[in-house]
């Protein structure tokens, strides 16, 4: 029996055991995916910085951000845009019936914080690089800081009431996130705190960025300064706004597009006046989700330009060229389409800052500082670029400010500015050419800002919802 046992049972079992032991190498169970590397060692060298920074820009392309909704939503809430009958996307905001579970409210929120996390990956990577590329590393960190500043600025604009809503700006802003912590449940900072962070990030970016940026598709020292100019404009810090706008204008890197090229300029990726844009290529454009497709007849065509803004543009002004007749439209909807973003296949960028805005910021800042002459020069420049035969602006005081506001509305129409400009001036939205369910939205209004997404309220007990949602 013993021999039997040995021969027939123990031996074979030993053989099997050996077999098992011999193949049990850890490697067999250590598999890595083909499209990713270890998160904790993502940035090993300057190439790591570069690809991580590309990832940040890629985040800006999202259709929840500069790819579509971040521009579209504030515009459909204001008075330059009216709703087409078949409007389906963002209709809840156009009609002021948004709710906290709505996917756009969460889409924008999640995407912007995702971009902030991508930027933080670059900013907080403590990777030593050779001295020869230290400058490049500083540049990438500077770009990331500036994007982080931009993203916080955008968040506080769309989820918080404007700067100046309360005297000390102690009203609710958004959480400030400067490092990754998977357990974080941050509370909302005040608008004052968020603006301070935005300025700090942008200024730090300005000081770190040292390389000449060849493309408007990436953040540069001047782009960060231009954004700072806008931030200070919103804050009513006129001196700083003027000074920053001037340094961008005087940098010599940008020039206004000639009048006769203005319309065709919208069909190219960037022009001489592009300071910062988000670029798209065929392989990463948003397809039918592109911003332009919300307007153009070949796309969803959900939204149309309002006569409220078209009527402000003088006859012969080149900027009327961005509108296109559409014979299918008639009655209240008729009869033109907005083609500032004509076709994603040829026009493949979303402008974030253009040089003309710098002139208009400076004009407003100068007027507010009683430098009417300087202001008149700046606003005339923009007006005559549109219509060279137009008279120079001679108004002063309130009338001058009105002319600047009108010029700003025309020049920057459909680029996502109008709602914020109304709010910071404490004005309501008044739609005359109106196809919406609601045409008068008085200031102040809880509904000028989006709800904090319900899923965030549920996941973060420190989060507070905006009133009225």
């Amino acid at each position: 029996m013993n021999i039997m046992l040995k021969k027939y049972i123990i031996y074979p079992f030993v053989v099997i055991a050996l077999l098992v032991a011999s193949s049990c190498d850890e490697e067999f169970l250590e598999l890595q995916p083909s499209g990713a590397s270890d998160l904790n060692s993502a940035i090993q060298n300057i190439d790591g910085y570069r690809s991580a920074m590309n990832g940040v820009y890629s985040g800006l392309q999202s259709s929840n951000y500069y790819g579509r909704y971040f521009i579209l939503v504030p515009d459909v809430m204001a008075d330059d845009v009216k709703q087409n009958a078949q409007a389906n996307r963002a209709r809840e905001y156009s009609d002021y019936v948004g709710f906290s579970e709505h996917f756009i409210a969460s889409g924008i929120f999640n995407t912007l914080y995702n971009v902030i996390n991508r930027a933080n990956t670059v900013i907080n990577a403590e990777t030593e690089v050779p001295a020869a590329v230290q400058g490049q590393k500083d540049q990438f960190r500077g770009e990331a800081l500036a994007v982080r500043g931009l993203a916080h600025f955008d968040l506080v604009r769309i989820y918080g009431q404007h700067y100046g809503f309360t005297n000390d700006n102690s009203h609710l802003g958004v959480p400030i996130v400067t490092e990754f912590d998977q357990d974080a449940k941050p509370a909302r900072s005040t608008v004052a705190q968020v603006y301070a962070q935005v300025i700090s990030d942008l200024e730090q970016g300005v000081s770190l960025m040292n390389e000449v940026q060849s493309s408007a598709g990436r953040m540069s020292k001047e782009a960060a300064q231009a954004l700072l100019a806008r931030v200070h404009l919103y804050m009513g810090d006129w001196a700083k706004a003027e000074q920053l706008a001037s340094s961008v204008i005087n940098s010599g890197k940008y020039s206004l597009v000639a009048t006769d090229q203005y319309v065709s300029g919208w069909s190219s990726q960037s022009t001489s006046e592009s300071i910062l844009s988000v670029f798209f290529r065929n392989d990463d454009d948003n397809g039918s989700d592109a911003l332009g497709r919300m307007y153009i007849v070949e796309g969803y065509g959900d939204y149309l330009p309002s006569q409220d803004v078209i009527g402000l543009i003088p006859e012969g002004d080149v900027r009327l060229g961005v509108f296109k007749e559409d014979e299918n439209l008639s009655g209240a909807l008729g009869s033109v389409r907005m083609d500032k973003f004509p076709d994603p296949a040829t026009q493949n960028s979303t402008p974030i800052v253009r040089l003309s805005e710098m002139y208009l910021i400076r004009a407003e800042a100068r007027a507010m500082q009683n430098n009417d002459t300087g202001a008149q020069e700046d606003v005339t420049l923009i007006r005559q670029r549109g219509l060279p035969t137009a008279d120079a602006v001679t108004a002063t005081g309130e009338a001058l400010l009105d002319e600047i506001a009108t010029e700003r509305r025309i020049e920057l129409m459909f680029e996502g500015h109008r709602l914020w400009d109304l709010m910071r001036k404490k004005q309501g939205v008044s739609r005359t050419d109106c196809t919406n369910l609601i045409c008068e939205i008085p200031y102040p209004n809880d509904r000028f800002i989006l709800p904090i997404p319900q899923r965030e309220i549920d996941a973060n007990e420190n989060m507070v919802q905006n009133s009225s949602y």
């Binding site: 077999l19 499209g35 990713a36 991580a52 890629s58 009958a85 941050p186």
Partner: protein, 1012 residues
Amino acid sequence: MKQIFSKLFVIVMFLLGVQAAHAQFTATGTITDEAGEALIGATVQVKGTVIGTTTDIDGSFSIQVSSNQATLVISYTGFTDQEVEVSAANPTANVTLASSVEQLSEVVVVGYGETRREAITGSVTSLKSEQIEQVPLASVEQALQGNIAGLQSVAGSGQPGANVQIRIRGIGSISASSEPLYVIDGIPVTAGDISRINTTANTMASLNPNDIAQVTVLKDAAATSIYGARGANGVILITTKSGRSGKPKIDLRTQIGFNDWAVSENRRLKTLTSEQYTEMYLEGWMNRGETVERAMERFENHYPGAVNFGPNGEIQQINVESNWIDAVTRTGINQSYDLSVSGGNDAVTYYGSAAYFSQESPIIYSGLDRYSSRLNLRVKANERLTISNNITISKLDQFGASGGSFWANPIYNGYFLAPVIPIYDDQGRAYGDHKNFFMGGNNPVGSLSGDDDRNLEQIRIMDNLTGEYEIAKGLKFKTAWAFDLINLQEEYYRNPRYGDGRNVNGINRESTINELNWIGTQTLNYTTSFNESHNLTALVGYEAQKNRRKRVLAQGEQFPNGELRTLENAATPTNATSDITQYSFESVFSRLDYNYNYKYYLTASIRRDGSSRFGVNNRYGTFWSVGASWRIDQEPFIENATFINDLKLRTSYGTNGNAGIGNFRHLPLFGFGADYDGSPGGFPDEIGNVNLTWETSTNFNIGVDFGLFNFLSGTVEYFNRESDNLLLDRPISSTTGFTVLTQNFGAMRNSGLEVTLDATLISGQDFQWSFGGNLTFLKNEVTRLDEEIVTGTKIRREGLDFQSYYLYEWAGVDPATGTPLWYTDETESTTTGSINDATRFVSGRSATPDFFGGFNTNLSFKGLTLDAQFSLSFGNYLYDATARFVQGDGGLTPRSQTNLNLKRWRNPGDITDVPFFRWGGNNNSNVANMTRWLHDGSFIRLRNLTLAYTLPQNLISKAGIRSARVYMRGVNLLTWTRDENLYLDPEAQISGIVSSPIPNLKTISFGIDLGF
């Protein structure tokens, strides 16, 4: 790996060296049943040895006996074993076997082996080939519906070759897979949908159901724990046919049939007529405050010349009348041709088949073709060594329609397209001029009939080489090496003229997926008996498996014309990407089966699994089970109770795991592909969790199997399945940049009762009638969850059923204004016209049925048989996810609606549940997540009805035919639903979410089976 091979080689060579014993004489004979009919394939074994053979087509056998005299044991399923003495002097044994009333003595395939039904301590149900053969369904899983207690099987889409969802004893996971493990001839294989472009596909559809000898479903721990980290959702074992020694048997099976929608015509949603649409169109604008003139002007702009109006919008003449649903539907043809041959001699047995199966959907130009062949070969090299190889090759072509809420779905789009849009233009082409205002001008008729292409081609090769060596009496070594190769090619082309390709001059997307799955299994099995009454079987094994899947995707736009469609013709490539994903498992396992006198049974199993899918901190897990059974009917004290034919009590307890958690979920990843301006970009993609590991499941099972009064048999069992460490995407603050963190956290319980009954009501010589049925009462409860999770229509909350709906409660239409109303909260005491004032709440309705199952009856008279099989489900609710568009009250301008809209509110005082119609929507009357779209899904369906006639032997034998059977079969012929207004097919996805699927099929077919 090399090491393993070389070692194996040595072992095999060593084992081969063992001498075989010499035979002394040859015993021969014939085995018949009580009626004198030859029993083909009866087992004849020399008692006390492993020497054995099977009878051939004449019932005769021939066996070598190694001593002067011996005892032969004759056995055959359904008959009582018999022993007979033979000797060199008297070598002939003609034996008549007596049929046994015991139902339990069949051989059942279990994990890493097979056993007799009565020895099973776990919960195991099997389906024999007769229940699978020639069922006109594309994949075998579909045949399980209603046939197995505790198992839910639904396709959720009638697209031929659609993925089939299987849940065994409920849903055991929140976010990981709930699909069972599929094992074909011992090899865990890839199952489910791995396609990338098509909306649904099923890798299992490559298997020809006619090649299957048995499907065994393992349900409790005693049965599944041997599969360790992959056993938690149950295991489906598929065994393919093998040959028996004897004359070649040739079987030719042919079938042809017709496919239609399973939902009968009077229940389906109808499209609007041109008149109905036009009226609604004008009304929709006038309800926005426009004049009738303006509304007519709009109409003329959209649909030039389609309708002539009078001055006040009266319809004078209709010039276009399209019924888009009719235009995309047809009667499909179902065809199946299957030729198999099996046979063999003492040394070699074989089963080979070649088959063609074709299923046309009721949607035009949509369907599936399958070409398959198989060769299962078994060679008995000598008395100890057996080598077998099973290989199957198949090609599956799936083409045409896609489901879901996509324009490409003809059933979804068909309701939207206005009847006043012509189907063809004046050049005879598919009309596409509505592209500027009507969903890109999609035209499903043109798209399906060749303007677009959507197809999938799957080639699959499975090979399984097994060597078995009997080292000594009762001790067997088995080595099995298998590979499973899947090649999946998909294409999705859209034409330049209308639809998705219109802005880019045509677009094509092509994908290739290549998967290699290999596995090596080594087992030792030892069977012995001692002291007369103690019987023991021990199994140990080692298994290693690796799976690698590579995918390539390319897309291009700008095609020169509509004919040249391959990507070489695309002027602008817009996407090119590839990726590789893999997983590996390494496992050791063991099982012990013991019984005392074939009366008291005890089993125990243990398995240790390691997998690449688990985080480094939790890479290996151990799973175990114990089971016991007691055959009460074998006890002397019950001998007098003659009405008891069988009585067995069994119970089991144990653990297993669910490794269906994704391949790399545990890794913190920095992903790439976030490119910008032509340069590669990366981003933090996954937070990762080094502790992440399998989900655990602890199972308790107790059941009784019985046979009573010689006509009734059945099983009643109770199960409790506690799933823990469930993978949960726990919502985290999205200020982190992520929205979820995956953790092993949640817990859930599925408990229930399964009842299976079979009764032979009449068993006369000429007339037989039997009835069978099974019911499963299932209760699911989420038992641990830190935060509620609202996902779509459902809420996951502690104490609630996993599939509980969480919706706004629809309160109908305000008769005064025609606007929608909701209840403000769960008290349902106040209504509101503003969705912002309503809250979602749990009303107790769930997608989980209270009970489900099926029943069948079989009548046979002489050669004529009538089989009917019903499946049923009660207490579950369905949510129509696309109703908010298709019945959107004008929410989407200017899409058409269904006939349900004809009930819309028009005048104050109208009592209806359809609000007034207004382009642009009516006060959020079509929001998602409200009970307006929820329906009672309870149903009973006549799943299968077969009338067959087997021609008498004396008639056909002259023609050289062994057997001949003609039949007529109907699938899904009748459906009864508790909600008499239900327009959906109640056989919906497990989740209860119905998103405009391709309709399920009703098939009527005619078949002839011939045996030679």
